[in-house]
């Protein structure tokens, strides 16, 4: 199922010589400002291998970061290097990079296959090689059956996948995806997530942005959190989470008899507060989210509670950001 990325049809070797062992992405003290407004300030980052999620609210600087990496913006300060080369000055590194832009607009008059193969030729492939590559990458994102339909007829998820396919041409070492899951239906989401995970397993460096924590969580554990243009956190999501678990958290449970459930959980060490927002809901305050989540199912099953939903209203990007910006940086 997984195509052999080293098979024939691969593009020519680059004549340009990369710096020895240069990391895929290297940012040193990078700032980008528009007048007096800093879209990114003082970011230092080196990435090589694995899938990294870039998390941030809208306007946090995710797209600015990607546009700097893709040579569309010029840094105000610092330096950006892709495989040791400044992408603003030299497009050569893009022979090894695949990029999935956030923009929705596509060439609706082309078929998916035409789109992918036409742009594959910009990697220096011949017409035939490009067609072969297009077949391969479209299969990789499970679009083979609609490859010869016009992009204009594609669903949002198909469009995202064809964009990803276009970026995978020529087997890039670094793949950058700007909000690839935005607007996709659950099925497309799953497919795209699988594709991204697969790329990570194949040893590619993948950078994927999102403003939804749960999405990133399903793809990777290594994350970068951007907030107001600053690099707020960089590392393993679990370690960030564990520390998050220590701060007060709410768990909201919708059940038929909140009071009965409250009785069963009130004695747990981790619970320090309980409230009843309304007759159907129970809200538990805890210092250790993980422990509660591991115990809660047992309690519910043993005491035969009728629970319809369990929700962590604080377990989202906003609350993580809130925690991190209140001085608890990782």
């Amino acid at each position: 199922m997984i195509p052999d990325f080293d098979q024939q049809g691969k593009a020519q070797t680059q004549q340009w010589e990369p710096e020895v062992a240069a990391p895929a992405i290297l940012l040193e003290n990078v700032s980008k400002s528009y007048g007096r407004i800093f879209a990114l300030s003082n970011i230092t980052l080196a990435l090589n291998g694995g899938v990294t999620g870039v998390l941030g609210m809208n306007g946090a600087g995710k797209s600015t970061l990607f546009n700097l990496l893709m040579g569309k913006l010029k840094v105000s300060q610092g330096s950006v290097k892709l495989f040791g080369t400044d992408p603003w000055k030299n497009p050569a590194p893009y022979a090894r990079v695949g990029f999935v832009p956030e923009h929705e607009k596509m060439y609706d008059w082309m078929t998916g296959h035409e789109f992918v193969s036409t742009f594959a030729r910009l990697n220096g492939l011949t017409r035939d090689e490009a067609k072969g590559e297009a077949d391969r990458v479209l299969d990789f994102v499970s679009l083979s059956d609609v490859a010869h339909k016009k992009i204009g007829q594609y669903s949002k998820g198909m469009r995202q996948r064809v964009k990803i396919a276009h970026a995978l041409v020529n087997d890039p070492e670094l793949i950058i995806l700007d909000e690839p899951l935005q607007g996709c239906d659950p099925l497309a989401r799953t497919t795209i997530m699988n594709v991204i995970r697969e790329l990570g397993r194949m040893g590619r460096t993948v950078l994927v942005s999102s403003h939804i924590l749960q999405e990133i969580e399903r793809i990777t554990e290594q994350i970068i959190i951007l907030h107001q243009g600053r690099l707020l956190a960089l590392g393993n999501l679990h370690s960030i989470r564990e520390r998050l678990d220590k701060i007060p958290h709410r768990i909201s449970i919708q059940t038929e008899d909140p009071k009965a459930l409250a009785k069963d959980v009130i004695d747990l060490d981790e619970v320090f507060g309980i409230s009843f927002p309304d007759g159907k809901n129970l809200s538990i305050q805890t210092h250790n989210l993980g422990a509660i989540h591991s115990r809660l199912p047992r309690i519910i099953v043993d005491n035969n509670h009728k629970v319809s939903t369990i929700d962590n209203p604080d377990d989202d990007l906003a609350s993580i950001l809130g925690y991190l910006t209140s001085g608890g940086g990782v």
């Binding site: 893709m70 569309k72 893009y94 832009p101 082309m110 742009f119 220096g124 490009a130």
Partner: protein, 443 residues
């Protein structure tokens, strides 16, 4: 799979042909492309129709020397009376009183009866030409001095003199003996003059100016800019291709539409004017050289303007607004080139050089065009010289639309020089556009 050796040319070829092909297909799907091409075709077709109509109509024959009129009402036209020595102003003096009496000639015999008989080519100095077809100069009753009113010692001829003034310009004068070539055939002259004027005017204004500016104005300004606006530029810029390359290939893609279109319209023009044009031959093959030059000049103009307007599109979101002053400037320069082809200002235009190609071709195909214009302006009135009254229909427009290639170069050199200058201009605008694009931040 056999791998072919990698070379810069091969990778260039792949990228270039991909972008060119892509641009062609993209423009094919745009409605605006078809609207622009359709409007251009309609406009030129209308002019072709007007031309065909003009060519199909008869040009009124004028009795330039007024010798078909019977001033004294004796039934004999003035010309016949002069030839036969009776008094054209006296009703009691006419050839009917001769013994035997002579029947009056029909009036039409004295219209267009003394057409041009010029067999000189343009050169400096004085030349003698012309022949008195109707015999009103060679009349045996005239004295030697009456036959040689221009005083060059040759009876009944025309003196064509070319001289160069200290300002470097050529001037011409025509001095004919009374009654030589004084009643030319308007239909023959005007038909030919209007045909040539049409070919030159549609070539210069219709093709080089109209197509040359409006096609790029609507089709080249958005080559890069539209992609930047819609965000689709990200797909292209994510590939290992330099922006200056992209700029060039996009422009080449646009030329891939515009050039075949210009060539097709040029061929249409050549066919229409070749068949409908004046002359005895079935088809005017010689004119093909001029049409070739018109097509070539328009292709060069669309190339240079394409690069320029594409660069303006990169420069500013509303690049088309920046392009309009250029278009206005070029329109002025086009008009200037017809009036003053040697004006220095023309060197700072694109169209001045493009029109020079057409002028040079016209000079090669119609080497005696200047003399022909001179002839028409003179119109048979040996004494009036440049008097507008006597000039023949068609000579005015022809004089306006034709001009000598500037710089005092020979036709062939002028073509080469102007082609090189246009290519250089295209390269400069490519360089500027590429540099602007390279320095552009794209959101």
């Amino acid at each position: 799979m056999a791998t072919k050796p990698q070379s810069i040319y091969r990778s260039l070829d792949r990228k270039a042909s991909a972008i060119i092909e892509f641009t062609l297909r993209q423009y094919r799907t745009k409605k605006s492309t078809w609207v622009v091409l359709g409007v251009g075709f309609t406009a030129l077709s209308l002019i072709f129709l007007i031309y065909i109509d003009v060519m199909a109509s008869e040009f009124e024959s004028i009795d330039n020397d007024r010798d078909s009129t019977d001033y004294d009402n004796d039934g004999y036209p003035r010309g016949q009376e002069i030839l036969l020595g009776t008094d054209p102003w006296d009703g009691n003096s006419h050839p009917g009183l001769f013994d035997p009496p002579i029947e009056p000639d029909p009036k039409s015999m004295y219209i267009n009866e003394d057409d041009f008989d010029w067999d000189v080519t343009i050169r400096l100095g004085e030349q003698s030409t012309g022949y008195d077809d109707d015999g009103d100069c060679l009349d045996s009753n005239k004295t030697a001095s009456q036959k040689d009113t221009n005083g060059n010692g040759i009876p009944c001829d025309i003196v064509v003199e070319y001289y160069r003034l200290s300002d470097g310009n050529f001037y011409a004068s025509i001095d004919a003996d009374n009654g030589v070539d004084e009643d030319p055939d308007e239909d023959a002259y005007s038909r030919e003059a209007i045909h040539i004027a049409f070919v030159l005017s549609i070539g210069k204004l219709g093709f080089v100016l109209l197509l040359g500016i409006f096609l790029p104005l609507f089709m080249a300004t958005g080559l890069i800019r539209d992609e930047m606006n819609s965000g689709t530029m990200h797909f292209m810029l994510a590939k290992p291709i330099a922006r200056t390359e992209l700029f060039l290939y996009r422009t080449l893609g646009y030329l891939g539409i515009v050039w075949p279109y210009v060539i097709a319209l040029g061929i249409l023009g050549a066919i229409v004017s070749g068949f409908a044009g004046s002359g005895d031959s079935f088809f005017r093959f010689a004119d093909l050289g001029v049409w070739l030059a018109i097509i070539f000049a328009t292709m060069m103009a669309t190339l240079v303007y394409g690069m320029l307007f594409n660069a303006l599109g990169v420069l500013w979101k509303y690049g088309i607004i920046l392009a309009i002053p250029f278009a206005a400037w070029e329109l002025g320069m086009a008009l200037l080139s017809m009036g003053a082809p040697d004006a220095t200002l023309l060197r700072f235009s694109i169209i001045g050089w493009a029109l020079m190609i057409i002028d040079a071709a016209a000079m090669l195909v119609w080497p005696n065009l200047d003399l022909f214009i001179l002839m028409g302006n003179w119109g048979g009135d040996g004494n009036a010289g440049w008097n507008f009254e006597t000039s023949l229909e068609g000579a005015g427009p022809l004089g306006f639309f034709s001009s000598k290639p500037g710089l005092g170069l020979s036709a062939f050199t002028a073509m080469i020089v102007s082609t090189l200058v246009l290519l250089f201009q295209a390269a400069i605008f490519w360089f500027i556009g590429g540099a602007l694009f390279k320095g552009k931040e794209i959101q």
